[in-house]
């Protein structure tokens, strides 16, 4: 009797909707505010280095940018560079950023054949991914500049 019961359960599932995503062709819509890779607004970043201070993994280094454009808010042209094999995607850097120069994107596909290719320069970070609508608009209340000591250990 129970054998037929088990068989019936199997047959029932034949006619149910499949759960599998056909992954490379069919993608699930990620929610707003998904913590993927960062987006850097070069025209907002002041190069203060708070992101590099709060990063738990020392994944961020501040590097000079060598393009022709002038950034009045950042005369030294020092911007964060991410080494994504170290990044844990906690996005404390985005939350702490006092000028909202860092934002969340839904880009998670960062796999590479070589480890060196996973270093993201400021220019590469400033590229806007497809379908980006902008998430971080207001300052997050919990993090504050008053947490930052006057002498930053970088």
């Amino acid at each position: 009797m129970s054998a037929t019961k088990a068989f019936w359960e199997g047959v029932e599932h034949l006619f149910k909707k499949t759960f599998t995503l056909k992954h490379p062709y069919q993608k699930r819509e990620l929610p707003d505010g998904y913590r993927g890779r960062h987006l850097l607004y070069l025209d907002r970043c002041t190069g203060c280095g708070i992101c590099a201070w709060i990063c738990p993994e020392k994944c961020i280094t501040m590097v000079p940018v060598t393009n022709e454009k002038a950034y009045p808010q950042n005369p030294e042209k020092r911007f964060p560079q991410y080494w994504y094999v170290r990044c844990c995607f906690c996005h404390f850097c985005s939350d702490y950023c006092p000028t909202a120069a860092l934002d969340y994107t839904k880009d998670y596909d960062l796999a590479e054949y070589e480890k060196e290719l996973i270093i993201w320069s400021p220019e590469r970070l400033s590229k806007v991914p497809d379908g980006y609508k902008g998430y971080r608009t207001k300052f997050h209340g919990w993090a504050g500049v008053d947490h930052v000591p006057s002498t930053k250990e970088q």
Binding site: E9, P31, G33, R35, I54, P56, H140, W142
Partner: protein
Amino acid sequence: MSTLDLNVGPQHPGSGHMRIIVRTDGDLIVHAIPDIGYVHRGCEKIAESRNIIKNIPMLERPNIADSSHLNWSYIQPIEDLQGVEVPERGRYIRTILCEINRIASHLYGMAIMAGIFSGHTTMYMFGFGDRELFLDLAEMLTGARMTFSFFVPGGVRRDLPKGFKEKLLETLAYLERRLPEIDRIFVSNPVFIERGRGVGVLRKEDAIRLGVVGPVLRGSGVRFDVRKDSPYGAYDRVDFEIPTFKDGDSLSRWLVRFEEIKQSISILMQAIRDIPDGPIARKSPIVIPKGEAIGRVESSRGEINHYIVGSGSDKPYRVKMNTGSFKNLLALPFLLKGARIGDMPIIYGSLDYWPVEADR
């Protein structure tokens, strides 16, 4: 009498990263010595060199299936020391995330025990499939699937997003339809019941003596749950039961998880109904004052405590993690002694042992 020593692991068709040295006589286990430490990463030492915010992602990594509870257990003593009160809405959001996480983690545990350790691939697919829906909910709220880093001293990082309530209720309704199906296929399945019943019996007095926690404890008939007995967050404002089973065998430990999912559904329903408006976080300093505190949080693998000694600067002087799996580890050699070697995977699976959490 001739005995045979077996080395099980660290690579074995279970969850891995643990070695059990088993001495067998025929197929009876004479004694078993667990050899852990394959994932010992020195969290406690690293935590002394980073400030309290930087420690949040690191100290939740030991158990990523259960990360919000570890996070809360780390934040709780810091808030005690700083004297920061979490706003009411923040407490409710924490409770909601923790219960979502508990359901996901229990589905994981059920899937691992029934799916991998006793070979019912169906349960593996059911458990992991339904778990995905709860990870989606958590992802909608926090922005990450498993490693939320969501609780900060003083509150939470984000408010509930738009449409979260509807999606939560929809998912809970789905799971409520789904649980009878799991019940039909597994709980009343003679094959599955025979694998678990009377296997690895931990009696009540042994459970108390060994100090086991979580579903292992409640499976042995001890009525203890930190959420009820020492309430934190919004757990004193919601109404729920503590499911206990008297037998103390592997099946009852599995069933405790199954029943706790039902209780978590009820807690989520009440929490999302009663959630008040207001601020989600209160500003807290980054300095951790001198003193010491211990937190108590009921994770899905049992009670976890972080013992924190403050240093007066932004770095803790000492962080000690006491996780559920480490406390349950003492029960493993006790249960394996005298069991059959074929029952070893079931006993190991029924503890829902998370090696990374035990090794830290």
